[in-house]
Amino acid sequence: MTTDHITAELDINDNEQLRYIAAQAVDARVNVELETEGMTLNIGPQHPATHGTLRIVAKLDGEQVIKAEPIMGYMHRGYEKLTEVRTYPQVTTLVNRIDWVGSFANEVPFILAAEDLMEVEAPPRAQWIRTALFEMGRIANIMLFLGDMAVQLGGVTAVFYAFRDREFVLNQIESVTGGRFHPNFNRIGGIKDDLPAGWIAETKSVMQKVRDFCDEMEDLVVGNEIFQLRCRGVGVIPAEVGKAYGLSGANLRASGVDWDLRRDGDSRLAWKDLDWKVWTHPDGDSFARYWVRLQETREATYMVEQILDGLPTGPIMAKVPRIIKVPAGESYVQTENPLGVMGYYVISKGELTPFRVKIRTASFSNMSIAPWLLEGVYVPDIATILASLYFILGDIDR
């Protein structure tokens, strides 16, 4: 049902890439001949391109980057340590704040890991509502990217559209969970509350608005020749390099790797019962990453609609003791979050608090490729590449 809405075609422009690489090689030769001296440019921690407090120390030769090194930790909040002194229900409210633009998705893998250890399973209705909100979190997250990427390239208008239409999605999330950014809606064994009346119909109209937004972005951003000029062939990630760096999500799918944990993982959420498609792009450049995310947003709106149509009836909580003590054991659950694969390695010793929680965040690995990618590009491409990798600082620093 979901394939006929795509209007953008994939024309892989190898020439464009080759020309870019050749131009860089020429520049490098010129620089060697002139023996120009380098300059160190400190980008961040407060800088418009690093949306947050990432700092990039770039050694420049003219406008060309010789070496770039991301330095983070300005927002390190020590969640792995903090989770050791929080009871299981309290952890969800903390991990909400890891990726704060699509935070519902942060809770889910932790709750699933805890449910694994407790050997309880949420009832179907809870799983479906979880999936719907998960996908809406994804939409809210990626919509911001779709606007932000354009603003990083200088087109200010797209981000206003993104915020405008994202607001509808956030309103829908808020009217269910009570929190716009930090839902804290998952409980071990289910979800906190059921949907309020009238929500389903309203959400469907919001999904239509999101699709209109995607069309707008296709016209305003993707189709724009300047945008393509800036993105095509910039920041090309070969699939094998991406895997070795642990890239995930749209960043890897844009390199042609057909892998999505929603389809390929063993998650108990409702994704496997839905009819949807994993989008990939063979190019692996910044444009491909934008394009894949745009398609994913659209796909997610159809998924939400399918979930709302097929929502099972029944309870939303399994039988769980009110005071939760998770049996001893270890469990690792990862899900396909908006930013990529996020996983929680939970070690329990049968107490009120987890013994250790290792949080595997997507942006951490996604950013670790940045030094490799930024080598040899121009200063303007730093903004392009960072924006297209799409990181949330909280997701890097935890």
């Binding site: 208008t157 009570g178 929190g179 059921d194 189709g223 009836t313 939303i316």
Partner: protein, 178 residues
Amino acid sequence: MPKMPGMLVGLRVTAKTFFKTVFPGGPFSPPAPSKGAHTVQYPHVKEAPPTRARGVIALHDDNCTACMLCARECPDWCIYIEGHKELAPPRRAGGKPRQKNKLDRFDIDFALCMFCGICVDVCPFDALFWSPEFEFSEMRIADLLHDKSRLGDWMETVPEFPAYESGADQKVRKVPAT
């Protein structure tokens, strides 16, 4: 059909938004940007948050038994409760006087609060409620510590719980009358 250059399509998008914003009622209606714009002129116009919105915590202190559950479960340790025991008159005539926890102090420090809602969730006696009210900023951070009476005042702003979507298995809760 030849494809329109993307740069012209982009111009069309912004122009379209311009007309949608200025003429929300169609091209022949008078311009009304304040209707067409998606932003809200905040101090003059206020958006109504959804009924479930977690704005501020209201306390129905008749129901509170000072059981400390909320203070224990709070991830931020921002709830301070003190209480003492006293004898309440018996429910039925001739019965024994009941022992009752009397609440002396119930403070929530909203400067620390993460608005996670765990305290409201764990309260077994329906004493805590969420109100969507959000305008309680203060000039001094110490004033964000709301005491028992201030928390009690918020009870007026607590809306009724919304009905559930069809297919739900839950019963709609009731907010106790103040």
